[in-house]
Amino acid sequence: MLFFSFFKTLVDHSVTVELKNDISIRGTLKSVDQYLNIKLDDISVVDDLHYPHLSSVKNVFIRGSVVRYVHLPAGSVDTALLEDASRREAQQVTAKAKQ
């Protein structure tokens, strides 16, 4: 849930999604779900010369499993908070494991 929670805060921010087939798509994150499927708006392909078939695509839905990286806008990531969130997540996992 941490990543879901995290990506939710990036909604309406501009991100670059790098897919496992090496296409990098830059666009506004419109929504994300628990499978980290991603909806992007106003997209532009980073290396658009190589992917002309994407030149007229305006928005995409990306299945979470094909995402390799998501490049984040550093300014909208609260590192300290993210650290705490990961700690909580880790605590929950250990608590569950002990059960």
């Binding site: 849930m1 929670s5 995290f6 805060t9 309406d12 628990q34 908070l81 993210l82 909580r88 605590q91």
Partner: protein, 843 residues
């Protein structure tokens, strides 16, 4: 044609009549304007709106038929009769009673209501010798007669009429003539129109104004039929359509066709409506009958007088309205209410009425389109879909409904807190998550609300049922057993369920028993030397994590703070508060323990003190401000003491001491650490020191002198900053509180002098950066703090110690741009002013 036929040598309207050519040069108004307009009386414009309607005039709503009085007069007999008949026989129509009652005050037909008027009209009609029974002859004769009438009516044009002609030429006719007020101009309009109907647009405004002059208002009425009859047949429907906004007379004259036209034209998609939505038409009783009216064809071309006469006769002869002998009478009679109604409406009202009618038709059409698929889904189907959606919703939110907002925070911590800090993009983080379903339901209810009102039979009830169902669905989702696996007996595998919170695990690695793990761990630890750097580092990191875990528990605990106690608090609240305090205390103790501040200081230990070791990690540094919020003053002081005592073993000091004289010898990592320390620890320390009394300051400075290597510490940014904080605080205390304890102050002065003496040889070495580097402000700050508290003799020694740096900086800043120079000099001045000097004196 008559307009151009004007033989006046100085025709003031020549330029105007040339306007349709579109030649802009000819339109210079000043050239053609001869001041005639100034003579017009424009003072009576106040009631123009009453006359013409307040709506802006457009080609459509003005229409083309303006001979209201004439047209009305032609059929006024019929009108009268019908009206009387109507009032005698029928109760007033229920449709639009208010609007209709409003009408008469403005219509201008009052005079025709006068019963005495009818005979005169009939007499006039007889002048033409039109036999009531010979319509064909009339039709034949009339064109000639009308031509004759026109021919005899030239060359007399009043100013009003000229003006009207001008208006007719102008692109935007300002007047929306009404039969009563602007009788003459409207007559002219009408006449022009009637004569030019086949090509109305081209010849608009070039009609025969002269004829108009001879058309007295009411007495001339009998003439009108001829004009009308001269119309070509094919022109009529179009004409009727155009005259729609002001069609009183038209309607009366040709009641059926026009009425039908009106109702056919006004709705946007006429055919669909009349066919598919009969009820829309039925709202007015007449149109339907009009459609079926057999008289329609005959009414179009027939002379009106005949029409009227025949009608009268029919009325006279007739006994009941549904007499079988008069095929058209019943329909005629039935239609009467309609034109009369329309007649009684004012221009605006009728326009409004028509617009409304169009709207209604449009809406009905829309409803029809929408209702095509009505009943495709049963309410059960809809509920089913809703339930699926809701279940999706419940799982999509990770089942945060389960344990309330606290669980939401646990599951969705980053998002919830982030939203709280930076402004929630969607919902309030502490909003109870169960409101999800509520919100959803509310929206649904709102959307179906109007429909529910329209069908009060089942609407609300249905919504209620759905709400209950949804409630049950949510509860069911909550109550769903949390079994993640289903092992079917006898099967080899197991089926694992997944939901959004716990996705189906693709790898199922058996976790070794915790006890086993611990044994292994202890075994490994035993096999390694106790103070190996790696184990040490792991331990430190673990300590830091422990601190963070406790910090988070503390913060969670603080959020659950019970309401503030007051005198009226009931015992349970007090008890709650007590428990809360107790828990807070235990958490604080736990935190304090995990900070390892109280671990014995072992000066000879090869490893750093655990607390200091924590501070050597970035996240350890970052923890300090948070820790300071949760500990009391005594604990803060203890931490401060620890920091001061271990000053030269702090990584930000020990590793930040410049090894060579070469500036920028510090690695990037060390610089980052220093920066981080300055941003996290120093503010906390500074905040605490600034609240400490002189005794503590003195004690801390004593510790520094006693336990640390001053020359080394002073060559680092952090060390110097800490010293600056201590010294400036003491100075501030002295200045703000003159009657300070002399003994304490004396003690401070001893320490101060000691520090001064220690540092004096190294004063010039304090500057670790090159002269061109502007990053030396902290040194000047320290020097300033020293200088303020120094004796005159010490000040002199200070100046001597840093004189070179001062001079160099001044020299360098002369070569710098204005802004940078002033910054550098400002830094130097920090120190110079502290000892009563100024850089400007050096210039």
């Amino acid at each position: 044609m008559a307009f151009f036929g004007f033989s006046q040598p100085n025709d003031p309207f020549a330029g105007l009549s040339g306007r349709p050519d579109g030649d802009d040069d000819a339109l210079n108004f000043e050239d053609t304007y001869d001041g005639l307009g100034d003579q017009l009386d424009e003072t009576d414009d106040a009631f123009n709106d009453d006359t013409f309607g307040s709506a802006p005039a457009t080609q459509q709503n003005i229409g083309k038929d303006f001979d209201f009085s004439g047209q009305t007069a032609k059929i006024s007999t019929t009108l009268q009769e019908e009206q009387m008949l109507y009032t005698a026989r029928q109760p007033p129509p229920k449709a639009k009673p208010t609007v209709a009652s409003k009408g008469p005050s403005r219509t201008g037909y009052e005079r025709y209501v006068d019963p005495g008027y009818i005979p005169a009209l009939e007499a006039n009609a007889s002048i033409w010798g039109v036999g009531p029974k010979k319509p064909e002859a009339t039709v034949q004769e009339r064109p000639d007669q009308s031509a004759g009438a026109h021919g005899s009516s030239r060359k007399m044009m009043s100013l009003e009429e000229v003006e009207a002609a001008m208006r007719s030429q102008s692109k935007k006719p300002v007047s929306l003539p009404d039969a009563q007020v602007s009788g003459s101009s409207s007559q002219m309009y009408e006449q022009q129109w009637h004569q030019q109907i086949p090509t109305p647009q081209q010849q608009l405004g070039v009609g025969e104004p002269a004829q108009i002059l001879q058309r007295p208002h009411p007495p001339n009425v009998p003439m009108h039929p001829q004009f009308h009859q001269s119309l070509p047949q094919h022109g009529q429907p179009e004409f009727a359509a155009r005259s729609q906004p002001s069609p009183q007379t038209q309607i009366l004259q040709r009641q059926k066709p026009v009425a039908q036209d009106n109702f056919n034209r006004v709705p946007a998609p006429p055919h669909t409506i009349t066919r598919a939505q009969p009820q829309s038409v039925q709202q007015q009783p007449q149109p339907r009958q009009i459609l079926q009216n057999p008289q329609r064809l005959s009414g179009q071309g027939q002379p009106l007088s005949q029409h009227g006469h025949g009608f009268r006769q029919a009325e006279m002869h007739r006994a009941p309205p549904t007499g079988p002998s008069h095929g058209r009478v019943p329909s005629h009679h039935a239609v009467v209410t309609h034109p009369e109604q329309l007649l009684q409406l004012s221009e605006e009202d009728r326009a409004a009425f028509l617009v409304e009618d169009a709207k209604r038709a449009k809406r009905n059409h829309k409803i029809l389109m929408l209702s095509r698929d009505n009943g495709l889904m049963t309410p059960q189907d809809k509920n089913f879909i809703t339930r699926i959606q809701l279940q999706q919703l419940v799982t999509a939110t990770g089942g945060v409904d389960d344990q309330g907002p606290e669980a939401a925070l646990a599951e969705d911590f980053y998002y919830q807190v982030y939203s709280q800090i930076r402004g929630a993009p969607r919902q309030n983080p502490h909003q109870p998550a169960s409101q999800f379903a509520q919100t959803y339901l509310f929206q649904t209810g709102g959307r179906y609300g109007p429909q529910g009102r329209r069908h009060p039979r089942g609407g609300d009830n249905h919504i209620q049922r759905m709400e209950q169902q949804v409630q049950r669905a949510v509860e069911a989702a909550k109550a769903k057993p949390k079994n993640k696996q289903l092992v079917i007996e006898g099967s080899l595998g197991k089926i694992s369920f997944s939901n959004s919170k716990t996705p189906k695990p693709l790898l199922n690695i058996k976790r070794p028993d915790t006890s086993d793990m611990r044994q292994q761990l202890t075994g490994r630890q035993a096999s390694r030397p106790e103070n190996s750097p790696i184990a040490d580092r792991r331990q430190v990191l673990r300590n830091i994590e422990g601190v963070y875990a406790t910090l988070m528990r503390l913060e969670d605990h603080e959020r659950h703070s019970p309401p503030h106690l007051n005198d009226s608090s009931d015992p349970s609240t007090i008890q709650e508060h007590k428990d809360w305090q107790q828990r807070l205390q235990s958490l604080n103790q736990s935190l304090w323990h995990q900070l390892k501040v109280m671990e014995p200081i072992n000066p000879n230990s090869p490893t750093a003190h655990p607390f200091v070791a924590m501070l050597s990690h970035p996240k350890g540094k970052k923890a300090i401000p948070r820790v300071f919020r949760h500990i009391d003053n005594q604990q803060r002081l203890t931490i401060l003491t620890m920091i001061v005592v271990h000053m030269d073993s702090l990584d930000v000091i020990a590793q930040a001491v410049p090894i060579t004289e070469e500036p920028a010898s510090l690695s990037r990592m060390v610089k980052e650490e220093v920066e981080l320390f300055a941003q996290t620890v120093i503010p906390s320390v500074f905040g605490h020191i600034n609240e400490s009394p002189l005794g503590i300051i003195t004690g801390l400075l004593g510790l520094v002198l006693e336990r640390t290597n001053i020359p080394l510490v002073a060559r680092t940014k952090i060390g110097l900053s800490l010293l600056t904080i201590l010294i400036s605080r003491a100075e501030l205390l002295k200045q703000s509180n003159p009657e300070i304890d002399p003994a304490e102050w004396k003690q401070w002065m001893v320490d101060y002098d000691s520090l001064f003496d220690t540092l004096e040889p190294y004063l010039s070495l304090l500057f670790t950066t090159a002269i061109n580097d502007a990053e030396d402000v902290y040194v000047w700050q320290f020097l300033a703090a020293m200088g303020v508290g120094a004796s005159p003799e010490q000040q002199q020694r200070l100046v001597i110690g840093v004189k070179d740096r001062v001079m160099e900086t001044v020299k360098v800043s002369r070569a710098l741009p204005q802004e940078m120079a002033s910054v550098r000099l400002g830094h130097v001045n920090l120190f110079m002013r502290a000892i009563g000097l100024d850089v400007d004196l050096l210039g």
